[in-house]
Amino acid sequence: MERPLTQNIHAGRQPLSLKEYTTTGGYTALQQVLKNMTPKEVQQLVQESRLKGRGGAGFNTGMKWSFVPMGEDAPSPKYLVANADEMEPGTFKDRLLLEGNPHQLIEGMIIAAYAIQANISYVFLRWAYKKAAQVIERSIQEAYHAGWLGNNIMNSGFSIDMYLHTGAGRYMCGEETALLNALEGKRATPRAKPPFPQVSGLFGKPTIVNNVETLCCIPHIINKGAAWFQNLSYSEDGGTKIYGVSGKVNNPGAWELPMGVTMRELIEEHAGGMKKGYRLKGVLPGGASTDFLTEQHLDIKMDFKSVAAAGSRLGTGTMVVMDDATCPVGFVHNLQHFFAQESCGWCTPCREGLPWVEKILLSIENGEGKEDDMELLQMHTQLLGPGNTFCALAPGAMEPLQSAIKYYREDFDRHIREKKCPY
């Protein structure tokens, strides 16, 4: 089984230096692109590979690039941003790539920048990833010294600068347009779309924001082709995926596997099954903002379409397992506390609704819930659902809530009936 993204990453080893990366085939894709491919050809190849965004939205990456204005009349400069603000609770996959093989990301970014003819690029890295910050900063300098970054790289006529930007907290920074505001030194509130960032993004110029894992796939697609990339996968979405499992399992971790492995394989094989004495009660398949799935869903494929068909989202592909000793009401309260706290306050339903939801859940958990609280919660899942808020934060928050009410209604009712948490 091929593991292109992580084949050279080994636990406990130092990150790959430029020299090590080059000896394992690094920067050959970039040379190939600069010598033999037009930007449009790169866009087309990536589109054909069926690479979909690994940050959670799952949009075809090559198609996203194709919306950027090209040619001499296009606005300038254009920007390419790597979204390394990994803050979705339960998610720790990009850290592996950032700390383990930094030049893979940098090469992917340079190729992506070439494909849209962007001359300035940023890595937007979350504050807490201190080690990654050191590794990326050092690697950017290495790439400049080697001539992969800077003016007229490899005498190709293409120039590209790259900067590391570290954040100062806040989940909102991971939202594409809020990230752009943060990069501009503003409060990280989302922007209205349209205009989409591809047309008017950072500093009002055409901008592509791609997730770290997405960008790391690019050099491999260039080297080995679209068909090879598609064949890595067990599903119609191309490539491998870095999956993760956390919670009370024997071997929590992250693994690069063919896109579309089953939840059962992930939990039982790779994560070593549940810890002794615990049973699986539910799973958030792709981070905090995805609907619960339960034991009946263990055999579904972890790809965008299959997880959606089961009523949830692949999201970041890093799952959180809820065991039978953990109270679902307390679990969901923890999630809603997070979302209420991280709401940027820009739009009213999210700013006011999420703290209300959190309060109701806390009172139920503390045995002070009332009969009509469940109706109130149900109402919020509608009012804070898609289409009623400025960005996807509140609708994302409602996903685990609505599915918890669906699968664990009896647990909620018991709290209210017995006036205490039965766990």
């Binding site: 803050m87 979350r126 807490a128 990833y129 907290g169 943060a182 030194g185």
Partner: protein, 154 residues
């Protein structure tokens, strides 16, 4: 007043951006790095340095949770309170820390040694529970390990 060193560092960051106001978050981090937190005077100084109004600077400073607008202790403990750490028992760690330090979230010890803050997911879910002190990450935390971790910081 900002020191020459601080101004130099802010200018260095501003050079990466098309206009200097975009460097305000970096400026806040640079000043906080040296002074521990951002007081009202620093807000005014940064505003002057970047040709912004103090209110604009403060609107940014108060948005980001890792910019401190109140004094903090010499060492800041960030305890992850997100879902994987919740499942793996961060609350027990929090209780133990409360007992040892006699402070709750948002408080600073009387000797100004530690400030204790909750933090959203540290991206360390496969080694939960996790905490961070002054940027150093500690994984798979147990109550027994706390004394030795805390003793690294005086």
């Amino acid at each position: 007043m900002l020191s020459n060193e601080e101004i130099q560092d802010i200018d260095h960051e501003a050079a990466k951006l098309p206009y200097k106001q975009a460097a305000v978050i970096e400026a806040l981090k640079i000043v906080q790095q040296r002074r521990g937190w951002i007081n009202d005077e620093s807000v005014r100084d940064i505003a002057e340095c970047l040709e912004m109004s103090p209110a604009e600077v403060d609107s940014v400073a108060t948005f980001y949770n890792l910019i401190f607008r109140k004094p903090v202790g010499r060492h800041v403990i960030l305890l992850c309170d997100s879902i994987s750490c919740y499942v793996m028992g961060y609350k027990n760690i929090y209780e133990a820390l409360q007992q040892k330090l006699k402070i709750k979230f948002g408080e600073t010890t009387a000797d100004h040694r530690f400030t204790l803050l909750p933090n959203a997911c540290l991206g360390c879910c496969d080694h939960a529970p996790a905490l961070m002190i002054n940027g150093n990450l500690y994984k798979d935390i147990s109550i027994e390990a706390l004394d030795s971790i805390l003793s690294e910081y005086n």
